[in-house]
């Protein structure tokens, strides 16, 4: 039995935990016409590679693909800001008819001369896949001529979904990895994979590893430079956070360089603590284990009073999660447990069967699980489950607001750091501020002395006493 019925062919993508039914249908093409929240192959590639700060990201295609992805992600940099520019070959009708190869070759020369990048990524778009420009050869020639890596990214928009874009990006990274020598500063060395330094996240995480005496060789790709990527093969362990985008790379690095990997997350107190413990256990060092415990104890004690205060104001509320990747969604479930909140809806754009099994395992009975949602389904589910809060990205934000539901941006364009111990305080505050805002108590219909009207508030029914806000 389907939970809600809007579109034929979507029934098996929505499930309620507790129903004994077939596994959730996932990881397939989006249905035409239903307004999927997913993007394309190119978007997946762009998400993964763009945070590389001193690389030049050239989009080979019409202007739109470059315009809509110009500086839209909150990945922060401690150095170069080259990655915050938008570069495009701006293909026109003639390029489509006669091929864009010459224009691309000339553009590479021109841009290298103007911007002196450490490396250039050349993204192919839909049109390039159709007209068949030979990016590989052009990039190879340009690399020889310009003396820097020029790496093609096979990201034609229609050749699969976002996950294929992640893979294209990982393949591009593999071309850079192992091309520079480096001796890690410590016996203990790691890479952080699938960490994009949104809102400066990594600056709250990296110091913890360094405090334990671990050299973080490279972050892939948040706040990293081309040189960091090139020496990533010298680390002893890969810690994979965004598993959807980077597990493929981790496996390839294991094959090629013998570097094992562990899945971790830096979001939420439990997950952050277990990331440090996992690392210490991997190196099997008593010293590291002790240091990890010291850090966990100290940091937890530091942030707990603030988190407790927010927890008191949000516990018992119902949260809905709709994320691009499953790893973030899973981490969020645990974080909401830490805040005493119930997850009533959870969904992702790109989760696979393993991801959904894991999700189904950790959520409570009655939780709705949805794959590749669309606005009409999200709206139905949010109302059906009486969610108090939606955690998602900008496209979903205004849907929540129109429904009178609080919202927390957990996507790449958020501006508040959520990772590490301090990040959890920020997250708790964000959730508190939006759920307990007085705007939800305002009347949607004015009370008129001459007309009888309903006095619905936006958050229908819930009339909480206003509490004193948390300090600090």
């Amino acid at each position: 039995m389907s939970v809600i019925k809007i579109f034929e062919g979507r029934e098996r993508h929505i499930q309620q935990k507790g129903d004994d039914c077939l596994p959730l249908s996932c990881n397939n093409d989006s249905l035409a016409g239903v307004v999927s929240q997913r993007a394309c192959v190119y978007s997946g590639a762009r998400v993964v590679l763009n945070p590389l700060t001193d690389a030049l990201h050239l989009v080979h295609g019409p202007i739109g693909c470059a315009a809509y992805t110009w500086d839209i992600r909150g990945a922060a940099s401690s150095g170069s800001d080259l990655y915050r520019n938008s570069f495009s070959t701006d293909m026109k009708e003639l390029d489509v008819v006669f091929g864009g190869e010459r224009k691309l070759a000339a553009a590479l020369r021109e841009l290298a001369d103007r911007f002196h990048p450490q490396a250039i990524f050349v993204y192919s778009t839909c049109i390039v896949g159709i007209i068949g420009d030979d990016l590989e050869t052009i990039c190879k020639k340009a690399a020889m001529e310009l003396g820097i890596p020029v790496v093609p990214v096979k990201s034609e928009g229609f050749r699969g979904n976002k996950t294929d874009g992640y893979k294209a990006a990982c393949n591009a990274l593999l071309e850079l990895i192992g091309t520079c020598d480096y001796t890690p500063k410590s016996y203990y060395s790691v890479n952080l994979l699938g960490e994009y330094n949104v809102a400066g996240d990594v600056w709250h995480v990296r110091p913890l590893f360094e405090e334990m005496g671990i050299d973080v060789v490279a972050t892939l790709t948040g706040d990293s430079r081309v040189a960091d990527i090139q020496r990533a093969h010298t680390a002893k362990l890969n810690l994979v956070q965004c598993s959807g985008s980077m597990t493929y790379l981790a496996k390839k690095m294991e094959e090629k360089y013998g570097i094992p990997y562990r899945r971790i997350s830096f979001f939420g107190l439990q997950d952050m603590a277990s990331a440090l413990r996992t690392t210490a256990e991997f190196f099997d060092s008593q010293d590291l284990k002790e240091k990890a415990e010291q850090i966990i104890l100290r940091e937890t004690a530091r942030v707990m009073p603030q988190i407790e205060c927010h927890r008191a104001r949000v516990s018992g509320k119902k949260a809905a999660i709709y994320m691009g990747g499953a790893a973030k969604a899973v981490s969020l479930v645990r974080a909401f447990q830490e805040l005493g909140m119930d997850v009533v809806i959870i969904g992702t754009q790109t989760g696979d069967r393993d991801d959904y099994q894991k999700i189904a395992y950790i959520v409570k009975d009655g939780t709705l699980i949805i794959d590749d949602a669309n606005p009409l389904e999200l709206k139905e589910l949010l109302l059906k489950q009486s969610a108090d809060l939606l955690v998602a990205g900008v496209k979903e934000r205004f849907l929540a607001y129109k429904l009178g539901i609080a919202f927390c941006d957990f996507n790449h364009d958020r501006t508040i750091n959520f990772e590490g111990f301090q990040g959890m305080v920020n997250f708790a505050r964000e959730v508190d501020v939006t759920i307990n805002s007085p705007v939800w108590q305002l009347r949607v219909k004015r009370q008129s002395p001459i007309n009888s009207r309903s006095d619905l508030t936006m958050n229908t029914g819930v009339e909480d006493a206003i509490q004193e806000p948390c300090q600090g």
Binding site: V96, G157, F398, K402
Partner: protein, 438 residues
């Protein structure tokens, strides 16, 4: 002067399908579907949601590799069917993307087949528009969508005596509301198209409809050929569009006018409407005009000789530039992202000494700004990096504006909008001077 560089660095324009959405969303009960890969609709939804702070639903035919090889007819038909099932629209605007165009799908033919095969399609109006992203900018996409819409829908019937008011450029919901108020006050019958005043700026209600309420009624669009005249507001430097079509096919006289920004251009709109209706402009707007003039006189010394850079969509840039010259300001750089010769000629006529760039990107605009001792930038938020780098204040006007509130409520048109703009220009210059002294 067109751009000298091969590669675009930080674009000052968008692609054709973007313009279509701004037309289709201004039609009653209309959904937009992009025939192409899923990313096009998602990216543009994101872009528009940032600007308007509204949910933006754009469907996609979600073409995959199979569709690209064997043609996208099956996907397009399934997409249309799902849009009808999910959203129950009265009309669907179908814009192509570079992918659909290059694989050579004949969209009008696919739509005819769909209408013949699908009972659900019987009461739905389909508006196919060819908008390969590589052909031109979002402004051209807007114009082509408006023209196709009119071509597809108009039917000749008995004269209504109304006046068609076509919105020829992208303006804000607040601008549209202002125009409607002005026209209502004048008291003549009109059809305004497209009307995004409610659809892109919906009030918060207890029920959220699947398609936002508002937009130009479909019956009115069908009736455009019965009107006695057409005025295109913001349609001077574009190629012939919907208004020209109505003139050619149905002999309805067409007047392309600039966007009414600044005293002179507002007066031109007023004069045109007086000529067409025979009725004088309502007294209320005469007083408003007087207040604009009063504000311009009050501000003239503060803004005098200010060296500015104006960039963005063609008609809006020209309107703002005109207002600046009326105030004694000195626009130094007048730039637009699209290739448009008529724009360059019009700008040259207004400010012969300025640097005029068509097909501009922000790397060029930045270079010119640094060479010309500019005091104020005026244009979309996409100029923010340049503003930061050059430490020149940016007054955000027009589309897109992702990083400040108020894009939907920004009024630039008419005497009132011009008055706000004068005040914003003056305040921006004052604030900048204050910061300098600090």
């Amino acid at each position: 002067m067109p751009s000298k560089n091969l590669a675009r660095v930080n674009p000052c324009s968008m692609c054709m399908p973007m313009g279509c959405v701004l037309v289709f969303r201004g039609i009653e009960s209309c959904m937009t579907l992009f025939h192409g890969s899923q990313g096009c609709s998602t990216y543009m939804r994101l872009y528009l949601a940032h600007h308007f702070r509204e949910p933006v639903d754009i469907a996609s035919s979600a073409l995959s590799e199979k569709g690209a090889v064997y043609g996208g007819a099956a996907n397009l038909k399934q997409g249309l069917r799902n849009v009808i099932l999910g959203y129950r629209p009265k009309a669907i605007g179908i814009a192509t993307t570079c992918l659909a165009e290059t694989i050579g799908d004949d969209v009008p033919q696919i739509v005819r087949e769909f209408q013949a095969e699908e009972p659900l399609a019987r009461d739905v109006t389909f508006i196919p528009v060819s908008t390969p992203s590589y052909a031109a900018s979002h402004e051209v996409g807007y114009r082509v969508a408006l023209k196709n819409l009119v071509q597809t829908m108009v039917r000749k019937s008995k004269p209504s005596g109304r006046i068609n008011i076509l919105v020829g450029s992208i303006i804000s919901p607040e601008d549209v509301r202002y125009l409607k108020k002005l026209l209502d006050g004048w008291g003549f019958g009109y059809i305004l198209l497209p009307d995004i005043s409610e659809t892109f700026d919906a009030p918060l209600n207890e029920h959220l409809p699947r398609i936002p309420a508002g937009g130009t009624p479909l019956d009115d669009i069908r009736d455009l050929a019965s009107s006695k005249a057409t005025v295109t507001i913001g349609g001077v430097v574009q190629e012939p569009g919907a208004g020209d079509f109505l003139e050619k096919e149905f002999e309805i006289p067409h007047r392309p006018l600039p966007l009414p920004i600044g005293l002179d251009l507002c007066d031109r709109l007023a004069a045109s409407l007086e000529e067409l209706t025979g009725d004088p402009m309502p007294e209320y707007y005469e007083r408003e005009r007087g207040r604009l003039l009063d504000t311009m006189v009050d501000a003239h010394k503060v803004v005098a000789e200010a060296r500015t850079a104006v960039f963005g969509d063609t008609e809006m840039v020209l309107g703002i530039t005109r207002l600046m010259t009326e105030l004694g300001m000195r626009p130094q750089i007048i730039a637009t992202g699209a290739a448009n010769r008529a724009f360059a000629e019009a700008a040259l006529q207004m400010v012969p000494a300025s640097r005029i760039i068509t097909g501009a990107d922000f790397s060029e605009i930045a270079e010119e700004i640094m060479a010309r001792d500019i005091e104020l930038m005026v244009g979309p938020f996409t100029g923010r990096q340049t503003a930061k780098k050059t430490k020149i204040p940016l007054l955000r006007v027009g589309h897109p504006n992702h990083d400040r509130f108020g894009a939907s409520h920004q009024l630039l048109l008419g005497y009132e909008g011009s008055m706000h703009l004068v005040e914003c220009l003056a305040n921006a210059l004052i604030e900048s001077k204050e910061k300098g002294y600090a």
